[in-house]
Symmetry: C2
Subunit: 377 residues, 2 copies
């Protein structure tokens, strides 16, 4: 872990760069907006820690009503539990003896559940639970449209749920029904149609399980792009949105019903960067590249200079194109100036940093360690 690029109480202008900055006012508004939304719909929130990798954030979500946290990795679950999160769902398959032992060991510290989509993996989960002397809650992941992981809804899901239910040290925990690829569909209608299909498949599976005496404790899924559909479905009872806390340049391209871009959540996470070179009036280079933000969903956007194009990134550099209108204006970007970049994709960007530099107004208020940064296993 590197040392933090700021000190508490410091002026934002003095923070060293690149730094991962959290606008606490915007972050807190986002937490409240989602908390109010799930309360209105009568569902629970189980925010995804793969976004923030920080138990402080998970506990802030829980303080506003979230039932616990989702994780993708055992290492993330460990970081959450060690940081005081008492209820963790690993919304993913966990494969391999080492990881299963670690997962089961966590069950002595917190409520733990995990997902499965494979009969052999269910047997391995049971073996690990037997060895640890625990009963592990296992959800069946069904493929509701992403075509990545998950058994088919209906009979395949039933067969796996029955296998879990018959296992000596497992309990059937419900369904994992996450439609990942729907989150970034640009139009409202496309997202609504995709989740409509996911809801139908999930409902059909719940009904089949019910006829066979199996009750779903958790019916989980949803992300920031679609949460309103799952919340309003009458089927899902736990939402797993993560990115809403910070938002990113990609999510803000999603269109909402009736036109315009989704705007109930604000950008609260930025990569702070310094102009390190300005060789002429055509462009400026900042000191943040691939190692400070992920470009898998596109390049960053300049928060305060939307008129300028962020034209490219290399390992440690980002290139901002200047233009005549900008150069002729009263604005400028010179060597030493600092800029706020809105990352293209929040989750893999957070994973590049060891610290959140949390600020309110122009002052650094807190430094939060990103303890699950790099928790790959």
């Amino acid at each position: 872990m590197q040392h933090p690029p700021a000190e508490i109480g410091m002026a934002v202008a003095d923070v060293d760069t690149p730094a991962l900055m959290v606008d606490l006012d915007a972050f807190e508004r986002n937490l409240k907006t989602m908390s109010d939304a799930v309360a209105k719909f009568g569902v629970k929130l189980r925010g995804h820690s793969k976004t923030h990798k920080c138990p402080i954030v998970a506990r802030r979500q829980m303080a506003l009503g979230a039932v616990g946290a989702c994780c993708q990795k055992v290492g993330e679950a460990e970081a959450m539990v060690h940081g005081g999160v008492t209820d963790v769902l690993v919304s993913n398959q966990i494969v391999g003896r080492t990881k299963l032992r670690r997962l089961c060991a966590l069950a002595s510290l917190a409520k733990i559940a995990v997902c499965a989509d494979d009969a052999g993996n269910v047997e391995d989960l049971n073996t690990a639970a037997v060895e640890a002397g625990i009963t592990l809650s296992v959800l069946v992941e069904i493929d509701v449209g992403s075509n990545r992981c998950g058994v088919q809804p209906g009979e395949d899901a039933l067969a796996l749920a029955q296998k879990i239910d018959r296992s000596s040290n497992l309990s059937f925990g419900g369904l994992q029904s996450y439609h990942g690829s729907a989150q970034h569909m640009r139009t409202y209608d496309d997202r609504q149609t995709a989740i409509g299909s996911a809801v139908a498949k999930t409902r059909e599976t719940i009904d089949l399980l019910g006829k066979n005496g199996l009750t779903c404790g958790i019916i989980g899924g949803a992300g920031t792009g679609t949460y309103q559909f799952e919340a309003n479905s009458g089927v899902y009872n736990e939402l797993q949105a993560g990115s809403y806390i910070f938002m990113d340049a990609d999510y803000t391209k999603n269109l909402k019903q009736g036109g315009g871009f989704i705007d109930e959540f604000q950008n609260a996470l930025f990569v702070y960067a310094t102009v390190m070179s300005k060789p002429g009036d055509t462009h400026a280079a900042v000191d943040a590249g691939h190692k400070a933000y992920s470009i898998d969903s596109g390049l960053p956007v300049l928060r305060d200079f939307p008129e300028l194009e962020f034209a490219g990134a290399s390992d440690e550099h980002g290139k901002i194109l200047l233009n005549k209108a900008f150069n002729d204006s009263n604005k400028s970007l010179n060597v030493g100036d600092k800029v706020f970049l809105i990352p293209g994709h929040v989750d893999p960007t957070v994973n590049l940093h060891d610290w959140y530099v949390c600020y309110r107004g122009d002052r650094v208020e807190a430094l939060w360690p990103i303890t699950a940064r790099g928790a790959l296993q």
Copy 2:
């Protein structure tokens, strides 16, 4: 820093995933190949630590004749110096009081040089050197074709070099003439032409500096894609290649003279991943995604199954397409099977991991901490 996913002496098959694996035999061949090449050309190697982020690797390069290491960040330089590297060139601009103080503090532990392309930055460098009571070596970065950082060759470079030379606590250290965008030009001819132009601009600048009484100690540049041209130029005296130690999927697409792909260096770095889901016979999902490898230069390639397409990545998943020929063969990829992925781009991939799991044959031989991982500032 996360704990390592392996133990020394363990079978490779037992290493937990995702893990960053170094094939020591291939790595050592790559070190030797470059060492022999620079010796043949009569130039020095100053391998770039932005690739490996690990002083153990830098010292292995130095044991075979490298004069020191390049860094891009002060934090990288600190990691190298603290790990025993005695001669560091920061091949980049360093902007801001905090970083300049850290940079100058390193000069009490090792030989330190840095680059500049801005008159104001040269003044700041001198102020920091005065405060630290040191003399700092400063190279002028010239733009030899990448159009990113660097003053123009010729008169602009001379003016900045003279300013450095006149500064009380700076010494003019030479020229930084790196053509980054030439490294990945696919054809031999394109790379040769690009570096031919860079060499001409560098030579012209050296001549102008010489007429004005300024001698270049270091004339540095070159990367894995072009090093032979700079080495053979009679102009450059230090090569800054980094990726050659590990190679990646992108570099192996470069064509060599006379046809075929460049092959003097072998892939020595892999992301080890486990099949975590195989919902049918169409695809398998592995447990490594954006947080285990960078896709800025393309998706990973399967080392042992080149016939299979690695079709997509998400945050924690990679998707491998299966096909009828594969499914009908005696090969298989089932839940729990492990695969070696050749990353698309080595530098930002290394930066995602805390440990190199170094193996020889089928045994883990060493665990090397990637101490400059996340050294952004």
